[in-house]
């Protein structure tokens, strides 16, 4: 049970139960869907970008605790940030959930998902929302898939 608590930390369980920014933006400047064909999870992300700053960001969809919490934490981390920072954060986040390296500084609350690194089959759950944001910035019309 203890090692499971490393994955399902309180913060994750909380964000799963009460996801932040869980809504549709009425007029997003950027929007994309992400799907995980393996499990059928589907997530939509909405961004309102002005002056290269993420003024607002939200998501909707159905997924497991890891993908929901990750999406929720991501929206909190990205709101108000310059667009240029998304790639840096995603890269740092990706490193944290896939390798045993130290948590890079500046990840903040996102580092609670570090436990995913011990569950390779769940990495895609943790990165789905990030892939969707990247797709939104690239203006993908088709849903982006984790596979």
């Amino acid at each position: 049970m203890n090692d499971l608590r490393d994955l399902y930390q309180e913060v994750i369980l909380d964000h799963n139960k009460r996801p932040r920014n869980f809504r549709i933006l009425p007029q997003p400047t950027h929007h994309a869907d992400g799907v995980n064909p393996l499990c059928g999870d589907r997530i939509s992300v909405f961004l309102d970008i002005d002056d290269d700053i993420i003024q607002d960001i939200s998501f909707q969809g159905a997924g497991c605790a890891i993908s929901s919490a990750s999406a929720s934490l991501m929206t909190e981390a990205l709101k108000g940030k310059p667009v240029a920072e998304i790639e840096h954060l995603f890269e740092a986040f990706h490193t944290v959930v896939t390798t045993n390296s130290e948590c890079p500084k500046g990840l903040g609350k996102l580092s609670v998902l570090a436990g995913v690194r011990d569950y390779p089959s769940r990495v895609k759950c943790a990165t789905l929302a990030w892939h969707a944001v990247r797709a939104a910035l690239e203006q993908h019309k088709q849903p982006v898939a984790t596979e």
Partner: protein
Amino acid sequence: MSALPVLTTVPASNTSLDLTGIRAEFPILRQQIHGKPLVYLDNAASVQKPNAVINAISDCYSRYYANIHRGVHLLSERSTIAYEGAREKVRAFLNAASVREIIFTRGTTESINLVASSFGGNTVKAGDEIVITGMEHHSNIVPWQLLCQRTGAVLKVVPFTDAGELILEEYERLLNSGRVKLAVFVHISNALGTINPVKTMVDLARARGIPTLIDGAQAIAHLKVDIQELDCDFYAFSGHKVYGPSGVGVLYGKQILLEAMPPYQGGGDMISVVTFEKTEYADLPNKFEAGTPNIAGVIGLGAALDWVNQLGLSTVAAHENDLLDDATVQLLEIPGLSIMGTARDKAALVAFTLQDIHPHDIGTILDREGVAIRAGHHCAQPVMQRYGVPATARASFAVYNTSDEVNALVKALWKVKELFS
């Protein structure tokens, strides 16, 4: 989903299965997962292999392997005899009339694609209809959709009740359109466990001159299939669901239909004479087995069927039904757990949701307890849509499972609840 399942009435098996002995025949079961004994309950996805099968494959490669049907040397003869011997074992297992009706494929999926491409391409025209059911696996949906796209034919879908039982009146109504060229349906649903009344469904179609294909992937290891009594036109199954290797499967087809069908793939072994002007095809079953087949796999499948015969399918089914009843009762004691698929006639699997906990989370937590289950849409997304859930968790049983393992599943599910409380 709210209806309580009616438990199957099969009594505890009188024929005592030597479970310890059976488990000893499966080397993979003797291991720990995350420090806990492996409890393998993902048998509907793929079942584990007994020594009899592992040794048959190893024997083939280490003692007599060579290509079949063409060598003049002894190893080729021995491989050919073993390969064709497996075909006879499949024939006998299904009680088909002739080995010419047994085609080896890569699995259920390829068997169905063969029929969709060869029989469908030859028979189905624009405006025709193919009747399928709402509880099909993707492998018995997509090949028919592709056929419809190629030909302009239309799929007609038989709905099912909340309990997961096909509405036979609707099936009959769809058959009556006069445009139906084929009816295809699953024998046992992999997502719900429902055992469909396939004999009745074949009879209803036959009365209207409509051929039938049955997806037997989930049935082959749990139910006795007598093809001549069933009288369907095509029956497809996979080796890996019946204790045999993956990558090998079977298509049973009625000889008269197979003879009229064009080849599915061209290549070696399926011809009798080739010139650049014209090719004469080989007789059945070789016409449908282009190229060097999965020789050791087919031989392994033969060994698997021998192994199942030795136990007796009815003994196997009685044991699995006991496990299913036990699991059903215990799972329903967990508050917030709903079972999806409560048909009166049900095979050895139980699909469920637990409150709003996503099945993937359930699967991960169970895995840490050593319990392997399937979580997801089970390649049956229309079934998930029917119940309005993105996914379910599924525990499925094989002959080597024990009531202790059912208890381990239930105990682990209580842990899931505790973690997500």
